[in-house]
C-alpha cells in the first residue's frame, strides 16, 4: 500500500528506471542507426542515413531477409494447416489422452532450443535436410505448431458449442457447420495464430543456426554471425527495420484480436 508522499515518489522513479532498463536496448538502437560514424561512438558525431543506404549494398543480408520472409510465409501456412484440424479434434472431440496429446505437442516449447537444434542437426544430416528449405520448414514447424495449436484451442474454447449445435439442429451437416459457422467465428484466433507463427518463425535463430547451410541462411542467423564478428551501426539500421516490422505486426494483431488475449495473458 503506497499511499502518498516520498514513498510513492521513490516507487514511481524506481519503476520508471526499471522500464528504461527494459526498453533501453531497443530504444537506443534508433539514434545509433542514424549515426554518421563508421564504428559505434557515443554520442554520434553526426547523423545521417548512410547506414540505411549501406544496407542496399549488402546483397547477403537482402537475400537472407528474402529467405526469412519466404520461410515465415510457408511456415505460417503449413502450421495453420497442421494445427487447425488438431485444435478442432482437441477442442471439440471427446477422446482419452487429449491432455497428454496437448502436452506432447507443447513439449518442444519447454525444452532448450539449443538441444532441439542439435537433435535436428544430427537427424537431418543423415536425411540430407541440412541447408535445405524442407529442413528449415520442418525445424520451424517444430516450434510454431505448439503456439498455433494453443491459440486456436483457446479461440475454439471461447466459442460456445451451442452455436454449432444450433446450426446442426437447423439441418447443416458437420462439414457445413465447420466451414459456415465455426471457421468464420474463429477468424480472430486464426489471425492471431498466423501473426504469432510468422513472428516466431521470422525471429527464430538458435535452432535455425544448426539447420542453415552456406547457400541458405535466414536474416537472424546472418545478423548473429555479423554481430559476432563486428559491431557497427549497420546492424542498428537492420534492427530498427526489424523492430518496426515486429511492432507493425503486433499492431495488426492488437487491432484484430487484442494482444493480451493473443498471448494468453490474463484479461482484466
Amino acid at each position: 500500500m503506497i499511499r502518498s508522499g516520498p514513498g510513492r515518489l521513490f516507487f514511481t522513479v524506481l519503476v520508471a528506471l526499471l522500464f528504461l532498463f527494459l526498453l533501453g536496448p531497443v530504444l537506443l538502437v534508433f539514434p545509433l542507426s542514424f549515426a554518421a560514424d563508421s564504428v559505434i561512438t557515443w554520442p554520434p558525431s553526426g547523423f545521417s542515413v548512410k547506414w540505411y543506404l549501406a544496407l542496399l549494398g549488402q546483397p547477403d543480408l537482402a537475400l537472407a531477409l528474402r529467405n526469412s520472409l519466404v520461410l515465415a510465409a510457408i511456415v505460417t501456412g503449413l502450421a495453420l494447416v497442421v494445427a487447425l484440424p488438431a485444435a478442432v479434434a482437441i477442442g471439440r472431440g471427446q477422446f482419452a489422452g487429449r491432455d497428454a496429446l496437448m502436452t506432447l505437442i507443447s513439449m518442444p516449447l519447454l525444452l532448450p532450443t539449443i538441444v532441439l537444434g542439435l537433435a535436428l542437426l544430427i537427424l537431418f544430416v543423415g536425411q540430407g535436410l541440412i541447408g535445405s528449405w524442407t529442413g528449415l520448414v520442418l525445424a520451424h514447424l517444430l516450434v510454431t505448431v505448439p503456439y498455433a495449436l494453443r491459440v486456436l484451442v483457446t479461440a475454439l474454447g471461447t466459442l460456445p458449442a451451442s452455436v454449432e449445435e444450433a446450426a446442426s439442429s437447423l439441418g447443416a451437416p458437420a462439414l457445413s457447420v465447420f466451414f459456415r459457422i465455426t471457421l468464420p467465428l474463429m477468424a480472430p484466433g486464426l489471425i492471431a495464430a498466423a501473426a504469432i507463427v510468422f513472428l516466431v518463425s521470422f525471429d527464430e535463430v538458435v535452432i535455425t543456426l544448426f539447420i542453415v547451410g552456406p547457400k541458405l541462411t535466414t536474416l537472424p542467423v546472418a545478423l548473429f554471425h555479423y554481430v559476432e564478428s563486428r559491431t557497427d551501426p549497420l546492424v542498428a539500421a537492420v534492427s530498427v527495420l526489424m523492430v518496426l516490422f515486429s511492432l507493425g505486426l503486433v499492431a495488426v494483431l492488437e487491432r484484430a484480436v487484442g494482444l493480451r488475449r493473443a498471448v494468453g495473458g490474463k484479461g482484466g
Partner: protein
C-alpha cells in the same frame, strides 16, 4: 453432427502428431542414443555402444565447472530478474485500466523482438565505446569492462528475460484484491506488514512460475551468452554449440544436452515441490 465425423474427429490430430514425431520425438531419442557412442577425432562417431563419452564427461572437472557456472548464473539471474520485475508488475497491476493495457504492451513487446537485436542493443550500451561507459567516464568514473565477461551476460539476460517474469507475476497478481490490503490496514497492519503478510503470500504462485521460467530460459539461452560473453563465458548451452559445430564431437554435445535436460527436470521438480507447498498454504 452425425456419428461418423464424431468418431473420426480424433484422426484430425494426426498431421500435428506426425510433425511432432518427426521433428521432436525421433530426433530427441536419437540424440539420447548418440550420447552412448564414442566421438572419434575428426568428427567420426563410433558404431558400437560405449560409455566412453559419459566417462570422459564425468571425469573432467571442466564440465562440472561449466554446469555449476550455468546453474549459479541462472539462479542469480532469476533473483535479479525477480527484483527488477516485481516493482514493474506491481505498478502495472495498480495502474488505471486505460494505462494498464498500454503498459502491458510495453512489457510484452520486447518478447516480439529478435534476441539478436536486443543483445545487439546491449553491446551498444555496454560496449567499450558504448553508451554507459561513455557516460560513466564523463562523470569521472573508470568503469570496469562490461562486455565479453559474466557482467555483460548477466545484465543482458536479466533484461531479455524480464518480460517472462513480468507476465508471470501479473498472472499471479490476479488473486490480489485491493480491499484485502485495505482490510489488513484497517485491522492495524502498517504498509510493510501488509506487503509481507498479505501481498507476498498471495502473489507467491506467480513469483514461483516466473522464477521457473527465467531459470530454465537462462540455462537454455545461447545467443546472448555467445554475443555478450564474446566466447569467454563458458556455459552449458555455448559448450553444446561449440562441441557440435566447432569440435564436431556430437556424442559429447548429446551428453551435455542430456545434462541440460537433467537441470530442467530438477528445476521442474523443485518448482513442483515448492509450489504445491505454497498452494497448500494459500488456497
Amino acid at each position: 453432427m452425425s456419428a461418423t465425423p464424431r468418431n473420426l474427429l480424433p484422426l484430425l490430430v494426426l498431421p500435428a502428431v506426425a510433425v511432432n514425431l518427426f521433428t521432436f520425438l525421433w530426433p530427441m531419442l536419437n540424440l539420447a542414443g548418440l550420447s552412448f557412442r564414442e566421438g572419434l577425432p575428426g568428427g567420426g562417431i563410433g558404431a558400437a555402444f560405449s560409455l566412453a563419452t559419459w566417462g570422459d564427461l564425468l571425469a573432467d572437472e571442466f564440465y562440472l565447472e561449466i554446469l555449476l557456472r550455468s546453474v549459479g548464473m541462472a539462479l542469480g539471474i532469476t533473483g535479479l530478474a525477480l527484483l527488477a520485475s516485481y516493482p514493474i508488475a506491481f505498478f502495472v497491476h495498480r495502474a488505471d485500466a486505460r494505462w494498464r493495457n498500454l503498459l502491458v504492451v510495453a512489457c510484452i513487446s520486447p518478447l516480439l523482438i529478435s534476441a539478436v537485436v536486443r543483445t545487439y542493443g546491449w553491446l551498444v550500451i555496454l560496449g567499450d565505446a558504448g553508451f554507459l561507459p561513455v557516460i560513466l567516464r564523463g562523470l569521472g568514473f573508470a568503469p570496469p569492462r562490461l562486455v565479453f565477461n559474466m557482467t555483460g551476460v548477466v545484465i543482458g539476460l536479466v533484461e531479455i528475460l524480464m518480460p517472462y517474469m513480468i507476465l508471470s507475476l501479473l498472472a499471479g497478481f490476479g488473486r490480489l484484491n485491493q480491499t484485502l490490503e485495505e482490510a489488513a490496514a484497517s485491522l492495524g497492519a502498517p504498509p510493510l506488514v501488509v506487503f509481507w503478510r498479505i501481498v507476498l503470500p498471495l502473489t507467491l504462485p506467480g513469483i514461483l512460475l516466473g522464477c521457473l521460467l527465467v531459470f530454465v530460459l537462462t540455462v537454455s539461452s545461447f545467443i546472448t551468452p555467445k554475443l555478450l560473453g564474446g566466447g569467454r563465458v563458458l556455459l552449458l548451452a555455448t559448450e553444446i554449440y561449440d562441441q557440435a559445430i566447432v569440435t564436431l564431437n556430437w556424442p559429447l554435445a548429446a551428453a551435455l544436452s542430456l545434462i541440460a535436460l537433467g537441470v530442467f527436470g530438477a528445476a521442474l521438480l523443485v518448482y513442483g515441490r515448492i509450489s504445491r507447498a505454497a498452494e497448500r498454504s494459500i488456497a
